[in-house]
Every structure is written in structure tokens, then in C-alpha cells.
Symmetry: C2
Subunit: 198 residues, 2 copies
DNA sequence: AAACACTTATGATTACAGTCATAAATTAGT
DNA sequence: ACTAATTTATGACTGTAATCATAAGTGTTT
């Protein structure tokens, strides 16, 4: 996450995206550094059968889509605003200038990518194994501890829908609904009028 | 990947690891930057049921295990030498000095992490969906195109065993064996005396 | 207030990867 | 050269998540 003052100094513009509007699409090369000023962004893929896979959901002040700025690769997923959002957009060349002139900022960017990679590695291990219970708990725990920094039991109320959880874990809605009920039986989550607490 | 001259300048040592020797273990904090001089390293997790999941397999001159050097996180997986290997080991503080004094090297490191994240995102989308065929082809194509830069049809002969593929994709050996045969029927791979070509 | 869309829910059935058992072929170790 | 270990292979059976069908509850829009 880069300071707004730096973003402004190097010529970033704050651009508005309507709900459901694409910020970039899979397989495109990167032209900008993006950082959320307000709103929410999801990165996703669509499988051959049309099923959605959500890579991640980001909110302010997080950046996203950096990898193709560094390496000669294309976006591995789409990015779409899930709500009306304002997003800082800094052209690639200006981004490079910024990194060169502000080594500490470069470190922060590296840090952000490192965290993302860490999350992906954790999730990959969970996705590879079969158990729906573990997949779902991993996502909830990640959001609880790593993103929201909550430690009290059942202190985290998720705003993900069952369908969201399904799309994040690669499961089906029905399976998520059923597994959440089993997890409630096992006292791993609480469900209070349809809201999931972890 | 950092130049050996830089590594030496900043006090790295080239350490020997025997086959099967651990370089670091899951949940440990990072103390060193690692870069393979020779040999091969795999990063893996063990599931609750003892099943192995291979996060990645690296060979010279690649670096690995950088994320916890940048962010306040622990290793998400174990790293183990799969063969007798020599590995450059640079203490964290020296690594930071190097990044500060050689911005171009910092960029290269960012690039390496970016590529890894890209691969993880691609694989996550495949792992989340069910089809064994796609999981296997994704791994093979990644190794063919991204790692070995081969473009000719069936020009890539993998040295992964069926078990390796199973551990990389989260499938079972039997499923990999059967799926590979189906893929051969569909002319997606060739199998010439047990070796898989893609 | 009505209409519509979305989310949660449940039951029945199916498909398919996992599991288990066993063995042949190949490679590595002494 | 012989033994042991690993890798590849196949068949039979099982378990479980996906699929399909249907509906109730909740929220949003006009």
C-alpha cells in the first residue's frame, strides 16, 4: 500500500468504477498499478463450465494486480468492482519511477506481494486436499485472524454469502450450506439467524 | 535470482544439504535468503492424513522462501533437498542491506515473487475446480511453457513421477495413472514407454 | 403492496475419484 | 547378478460431493 501523497506526486488518478465494472481482465498485460481508495474489488476466474472461482476479495487501502507489473506475465484473473469504488491508478512507468525513488515504498510493495503469496500457498494446500470442512474453516480463519485480526471465539461475523464461500473454496453452494451446519454441530462455527460466526 | 558476486560480497555462505535434508520447516520464521547453487529443492505440506502436497519444485539458480523475509509471517510449508544440493544462504539483515544498496536486485527479487504468485493463482483456480484432467494438464503446461519454454507439441518430456504429479495436484496416484491414459486417448499427451510427453 | 431476485434450505439420485488389494515392470542398492 | 524398493498398472468396491429438483425465507425495486 502506497501513501496517497506519493501516488499524487507521481501522477496517479483516482478513477471511479461502477458496481460490476471490470478494472482489468484475465490475460491482459498490466498497464497500471491499482490501489483501492474506497469500495471493494474481487479477482476471479470463470471455469470452462461457467462456474466462478474467486481468487480474493480486496478493500481499501489494498493494492492488487502487481505481479504482471514486475514480471513478463499477464493477469491470471479478472478484477471487478463489487460495489461503487474509487481506485488509484498509476501508470506502469510512473510506478517504476516511484519504486526507484522511494526504496521504502518498494519494500512495502514487496511485503504486500509476499503476504498474498503466503495466503495462496496456504489455500493451495487446503484446496488440494478434499475435505470441505477444512476448506471452509481455512477461509474463515484467514479472514478472521489475518485480515480482521480478531481473536475472540466466534468474534468474527462473516459477510460472505454461502455462494461466496463456495466460489472461494471451489465447492458447491449446497455443499457449503450442509458443511456449515455440520460445523455448527461440532461447535466450530455459530450460525445466528443465518449469519456465520467464527 | 541474485548474482553470486553480490551474494559473496554480502557474506552469503554456500551450504551443503544431503538428500532428504530439511532446509526449513513449516511455521518457522525466516532467518535467511536461500538460493539454489546446485541440486533440487521441494516445498511441501503434509495433510492431517499424512498425504503430501508439493507446493513447488525448484532447481538452480532459483531462490525460494522469500515471503517471510518481507512480511511478518512464517513459512507456509517445509523446504527439503530432494537431491544432494548446494544452497546459498544469506542472513536476513545482510539480505536487507543488499536490497537497499542494489535496487536492481530488489526488482529482480520482486520479479521472482511475482512469478511465483502468478503460478499460485493459476494453480489455485485449477485446484478449486474438480477435473483431474485439467489439473494435470495445467501442471504439465506450466512446466512446459513457463519453466522450460518449449513450444513444440509433445516436445516436453516430464521427469515427474505419477506420484509427483499426484502430490502437486492433490490427486491420488491411481487417478493420475488412469487420467493420463485418458489424456493419451484424447491425444493431449503421449506416453512412450511410461514417459509422459506434452 | 406486489413483483422479482437472491439467498438459504432440503431431499433424492448420480457420477466419479478415493480406497483397497494385488501384481507386473523398472530402477536402485549391495 | 540378485535382492529390495520404487513406480506403474488394473480391477472391484465405496463414499461423498455434485447434481437436479423444488421451495421457503429475505431483501430490493418500482
Amino acid at each position: 500500500m502506497i501513501e496517497e501523497s506519493s501516488l499524487i506526486d507521481f501522477g496517479a488518478e483516482k478513477k471511479f468504477y461502477a458496481k460490476e465494472e471490470y478494472i482489468f481482465k484475465q490475460n491482459q498485460p498490466a498497464l497500471f498499478y491499482f490501489q483501492i481508495a474506497s469500495g471493494e474489488v474481487k479477482m476471479n476466474n470463470y471455469q470452462p463450465d461457467g462456474k466462478e472461482f474467486i481468487q480474493a476479495i480486496f478493500s481499501a487501502p489494498r493494492s492488487f494486480g502487481e505481479p504482471p507489473l514486475f514480471a513478463d506475465i499477464v493477469y491470471p484473473a479478472n478484477a471487478m468492482a463489487t460495489q461503487r469504488s474509487y481506485i488509484w491508478r498509476l501508470p506502469k512507468s510512473a510506478f517504476y519511477n516511484l519504486l526507484r525513488q522511494e526504496p521504502e515504498t518498494h519494500l512495502k510493495v514487496s511485503q504486500a506481494i509476499a503476504k498474498r503469496l503466503h495466503y495462496k500457498a496456504l489455500m493451495a494446500a487446503e484446496l488440494a486436499q478434499q475435505s470441505p470442512e477444512n476448506r471452509i474453516l481455512k477461509i474463515l480463519d484467514y479472514l478472521k485472524f489475518e485480515v480482521n485480526h480478531i481473536v475472540t471465539p466466534f468474534g468474527y461475523k462473516t459477510d460472505l454469502t454461502r455462494q461466496n464461500i463456495a466460489d472461494l473454496t471451489g465447492l458447491r453452494v449446497e455443499t457449503v450450506i450442509r458443511t456449515l451446519k455440520e460445523l455448527e454441530q461440532k461447535n466450530e462455527v455459530k450460525i445466528i439467524n443465518r449469519k456465520v460466526y467464527r
